[in-house]
């Protein structure tokens, strides 16, 4: 099968997008010490860490970073042929009175974010939860909207948005694949 690939973001643009998100967060949230960042596994995690690192650089404060695996909160576990490999959720800071920034790489149907919100509620009661994503590709199935968006990419529903990050994949790049099989496992929702 032929796959058309279109690069959307290169390393520079990714860095710029994350820097802009960081600045927007610092602008929006008054009490920087109340911040907590939770990255959704797998590729929300390095983005969360990069944001925290930039805040440290700019404001000289350590913002706690947690990692969250949402597999156990998905609403499609029983309809999938393969079970997602469950990774460990690791949130070592108290959520109460925090202004939590939830971070993911791609915002698509909104179901991942829904699952993440459910899980955060089971962990504690933050003061606010805001959502930051590197890419918003549209096609929402739930009333969910990101507070901070790196880039909006118009896509058709069957396209694949592939995000690669140095921490996981050895390079920083975002590209769109069209004409891919529907059941391709990288399908992001």
């Amino acid at each position: 099968m032929t796959v058309a690939t279109k690069a959307v973001l290169d390393q520079k643009k990714i860095a710029r997008a994350i820097t802009r998100i960081t600045h927007e967060i610092l602008e929006q949230v008054d009490d920087h010490k109340s911040l907590g960042i939770i990255g959704i596994l797998t590729r929300g995690a390095p983005i969360a860490r990069r944001i925290a690192a930039q805040i440290k650089e700019l404001e000289k404060i350590d913002v706690p970073v947690g990692l969250m695996d949402i597999s156990l909160y998905r609403d499609d576990v029983h309809s999938k042929l393969d079970q997602p490999v469950v990774q460990t959720t690791d949130i070592l800071f108290e959520l109460a009175n925090r202004n939590v920034i939830l971070v993911d790489d791609v915002l698509f149907t909104g179901r991942t974010i829904r699952a993440a919100l459910s899980q955060i509620v089971d962990f504690g009661r933050p003061k606010t939860i805001q959502l930051a994503v590197l890419v918003d590709r549209g096609h929402r199935e739930l009333p969910i909207k990101a507070d901070y968006v790196g880039v909006n990419i118009p896509t058709s529903k069957n396209d694949m948005v592939v995000v690669k990050l140095i921490e996981n994949d050895g390079e920083d790049i975002v590209f769109v694949e069209t004409e891919k099989l529907k059941q391709d496992k990288k399908g992001k929702n």
Partner: protein
Amino acid sequence: MSKLSSRHLLGLENVPRQDMELILDTSVTFREVIDRTIKRVPTLRGITVVNLFYEASTRTRISFELAEKRLSADIVNFSTSTSSVKKGESLRDTVQNIEAMKIDMVVVRHGSSGAPYFLTQCMDANIINGGDGAHEHPTQALLDMFTVREKYGSLDGLRVVLVGDIKHSRVIRSNIWGFKAMGASVALCGPSTLLPYEVEKFGCDVYTDIDEALDGADVVNVMRIQLERQKSGLFPSQREYTNLFGITKDRLKRLNKNYTIMHPGPMNRGVEISSEVADSKNSVILEQVTNGQAVRMAVLYLLSGRKEEEGS
């Protein structure tokens, strides 16, 4: 993405190592869930699990029940004392009746070897063996393996000694298959009357001298000795069993330094294991209980929703 090669868990014999590894890896996550303030995830919401217990069991049933509750499953408990089994209904009829109630998974404990396999032949639900006859008790072995792996990081190269009634213990059979598949070497030790015929074909070292068996071992998994066995003449007295096979502090000297003492419970303190050993810092008996829930959650999670079309 990854999945088990079967949609049931009937035993550990012939289960591929990668399946066991997936279960143990997944258990790590569930072990963490158990430590959360809210020890509950919505994963099995809408899934109905039947705990079908044809034999009395407190621990295994409660452990499964808690695991199911923590996964937000709907639970039905069905045990012999509250069922029509006593009225002479066949296992097939009972099971088909239960299935007609639209259930998804069954945890079965039964006195007959092969009963869980029988269930797979008369219903579509995912079947988990909670102990069948003297055949297998796979989740017990998996939790034993998990507990050992948590401590040593790997089972490869460890020497595990299983002590007790080798002939009648399903826990021992599942332990043999599980630990061996994961690269441990397994030794069996018990009175010769409690060793099954052709025990050497299990591919384990077999001992009737406990001191020899413990020599250089890392893990000692001590089995409960059923007092009924003594009544049916398989060993002369409890006292003699304790003298010959009881795990006491003196006997632990032969073990490797960082040794581990295990027991699936319930214990006969002072019979197969002394209190001093059971309560020592090397004993992981209570961790086994906690880990049991995590492992059972992992098994329930990995099997849930698996349908026939995907192949066995």
